[in-house]
């Protein structure tokens, strides 16, 4: 906790010094309010999974679980096959990340530093898709992955249905190109003098300089892939290959068959990687968001 009384905002520092009691009361109220609104639902989900069936369906909810069944998490992992879907989701997310970085970095590098004929047109075509709400492309995009033009592939129920469309990410191209544009030409010229080819230049000069922007893109791509629902719902129809989000809704729809506490455990398990990513990369995630608002 840091206290910096010299920051000037709406309320004057003098007011704060005169009314310390009022300030600390308001602070406490705010902390309690935020905990109740934003953290208590998470607490309810995590402890709900620990309760037994009788307690969870009791009309008198218990804030502290009266029954304690941590093994529900294990049962959900095995019997509901949450573990299987967890690994599916992990596999898909890592793949989305890999192809986004591979394809978007090489394309942005070429557009930024190699500047080929018609490069501007290609860039404009890619950035124009930033304006497209992807949901409006849902139907034709679905038809496309059932029968990819020229190649004739049917990607339904394969990871490629997530990986390849995921790599067409205009936001990544935009951010990466802007970053690559700012790398001083001298550094690249020096590398060229040493006989570095275009690929060596990307690998040993541009990429090491681009760590911060690569980190942002990687975090966003993993988060996006892990949370995705509508697109996987359409292209992963076989229950065996579904990701956690799709599998969870399928399990939830068969209520009565699936024990509710196990379903809650499934929700918790699906959330844990995202909460961990947030706690570890909190600074980059929140700073990235704040930077978005600084344009003004």
């Amino acid at each position: 906790m840091s206290s910096n009384d010299d920051v000037r905002s709406l309320v004057s520092p003098v007011f704060f010094r005169r009314h310390r009691g009022l300030y600390f009361t308001a602070l406490t109220v705010l902390i309690v309010l935020f905990s109740l609104i934003f953290l208590f639902p998470l607490y309810w989900m995590i402890t709900g999974a620990l309760k037994d069936n009788q307690e969870i369906f009791s009309p008198q909810p218990t804030i502290i679980p009266q029954s304690f069944h941590p093994e529900t998490y294990l049962t959900a992992w095995k019997n509901l096959r949450i573990g299987h879907y967890f690994l599916n989701t992990l596999y898909y997310s890592v793949g989305v990340w890999f192809f986004q970085v591979l394809i978007d970095v090489t394309a942005a590098y070429a557009l930024s530093r190699l500047r080929p004929v018609l490069g501007k047109l290609v860039l404009a075509g890619m950035l124009a898709t930033l304006m497209l709400p992807m949901t409006a492309l849902l139907v034709p995009a679905y038809l496309t992955v059932t029968d990819v033009p020229i190649l004739g592939w049917n990607l339904i129920n394969t990871p490629w249905a997530l990986w390849l469309p995921g790599a067409a990410n205009a936001f990544n191209i935009y951010v990466l190109k802007r970053f690559f544009d700012q790398i001083p030409q001298d550094i690249l010229d020096a590398a060229a003098m040493d006989g570095a080819g275009k690929f060596r230049m990307l690998w040993s000069v541009v990429l090491p300089l681009s760590r911060p922007v690569l980190a942002v893109i990687s975090i966003l791509s993993i988060i996006g892939a892990w949370k995705d629902y509508l697109w996987p719902l359409l292209v992963l129809q076989d229950p065996e290959v579904q990701n956690l989000s799709v599998a969870l809704t399928r399990l939830a729809a068969t209520s009565g068959v699936v024990p509710f506490t196990q379903l809650l455990a499934g929700l918790v398990i699906a959330s844990i990687p995202m909460i961990l990513v947030f706690l570890v990369f909190q600074r980059s995630i929140l700073r990235g968001l704040s930077a978005g608002s600084m344009k003004g």
């Binding site: 008198q60 989000s245 969870l248 809704t249 509710f260 995202m274 608002s293």
Partner: protein
């Protein structure tokens, strides 16, 4: 220092080699679907015979469908309530938190945690909270001796229930952006205003809000575009058959994948949504590009 033709050709080939995969994925999964979507809206497809050109028949079919008007009305109602709640509340909370001198990190983390959860987790969790029989919300209402509600299961409260979930899950992003913008307001402005005898309320109206005009406008546009595409909440909480809450996206899904299995109608609906959202997206891009 002119390069020889051979060198230039080779450089261009190298460059296109680097971009080949990028161009391929954009061509196959963005550009082609966009064109195909427009063509599809004028076609009748059954996947057995060749697609048939039907002119404006798909558009006529959706205009004749009473659900079309219901879906647009519901989407506008959702967007309206979502703006009332999701636009005003995070701004007010950000202004409050910006005055706090302690535990700032706690507020940021708490408000952003729901944004990190997979949307499906949020929706399934709230479905359990809303449960009229043994849900948390009715238990709380009973606890304070208020009448219980049917939440998403009653047509009078369904829409509000959907907006509540969506606002809870999404307001963190807006709040963090407001906070950053608030911290950028020069302190001298407040001091000067105070010197002239402006009250806290007047300072908020004449210093804070004008200084935040840009970010307020940007987030307004972003929020309109995002909320008009609302899908998961109505899809999971109330379903594709519930006409009280069917939205444009849910209707597109219903046309294509759930009830009609008519891709032409779904494509026609998508084209209309696309045009409406395109206006807001274009405004947003112009605004941010001019200012950047």
């Amino acid at each position: 220092m002119g390069k020889s033709l051979a060198t230039r050709v080779r450089d261009n080939l190298t460059a296109y080699g680097f971009m080949a995969a990028g161009i391929a994925v954009f061509a196959l999964f963005s550009w082609y679907p966009l064109v195909r979507g427009v063509i599809l809206s004028f076609q009748q497809v059954n996947f057995v015979t060749d697609p048939e050109w039907v002119g404006l028949a798909n558009f006529k079919a959706i205009f004749d469908d009473p659900l079309f008007w219901t879906a647009w009305k519901n989407t506008l109602v959702f967007t309206g309530i979502a703006l009332l709640l999701g636009y005003v509340v995070p701004f007010a909370l950000a202004v409050l938190i910006n005055e706090v001198r302690h535990a700032k990190g706690f507020f940021r983390v708490a408000v952003y945690l729901p944004v990190m959860l997979p949307p499906i987790v949020v929706v399934l969790l709230w479905k359990y909270f809303y449960d009229p029989g043994n849900g948390l919300f009715n238990a709380i209402l009973k606890g304070v001796h208020l009448p219980t509600l049917q939440w998403h299961q009653s047509s009078s409260t369904a829409m509000l229930s959907l907006v509540l979930v969506s606002t809870w899950a999404n307001m963190g992003g807006a709040l963090i952006m407001y906070l950053a913008a608030l911290q950028n307001i020069p302190g001298e402005l407040y001091e000067a205003a105070e010197m002239e005898g402006a009250s806290i309320w007047q300072r908020l109206r004449h210093v804070t809000i004008p200084q935040m005009r840009f970010i307020l406008l940007v987030l307004l546009l972003l929020q309109i575009v995002a909320t008009m595409q609302v899908f998961i909440e109505p899809f999971q909480l109330t379903g594709v058959t519930n006409t009280d809450t069917i939205t444009v996206m849910v209707l597109i899904y219903r046309y294509a994948f759930a009830v009609n299995y008519d891709f032409g109608m779904a494509a026609a609906m998508s084209v209309l949504l696309f045009i409406v959202l395109g206006v807001f997206s274009a405004l947003y891009l112009r605004l941010t590009r001019d200012e950047a």
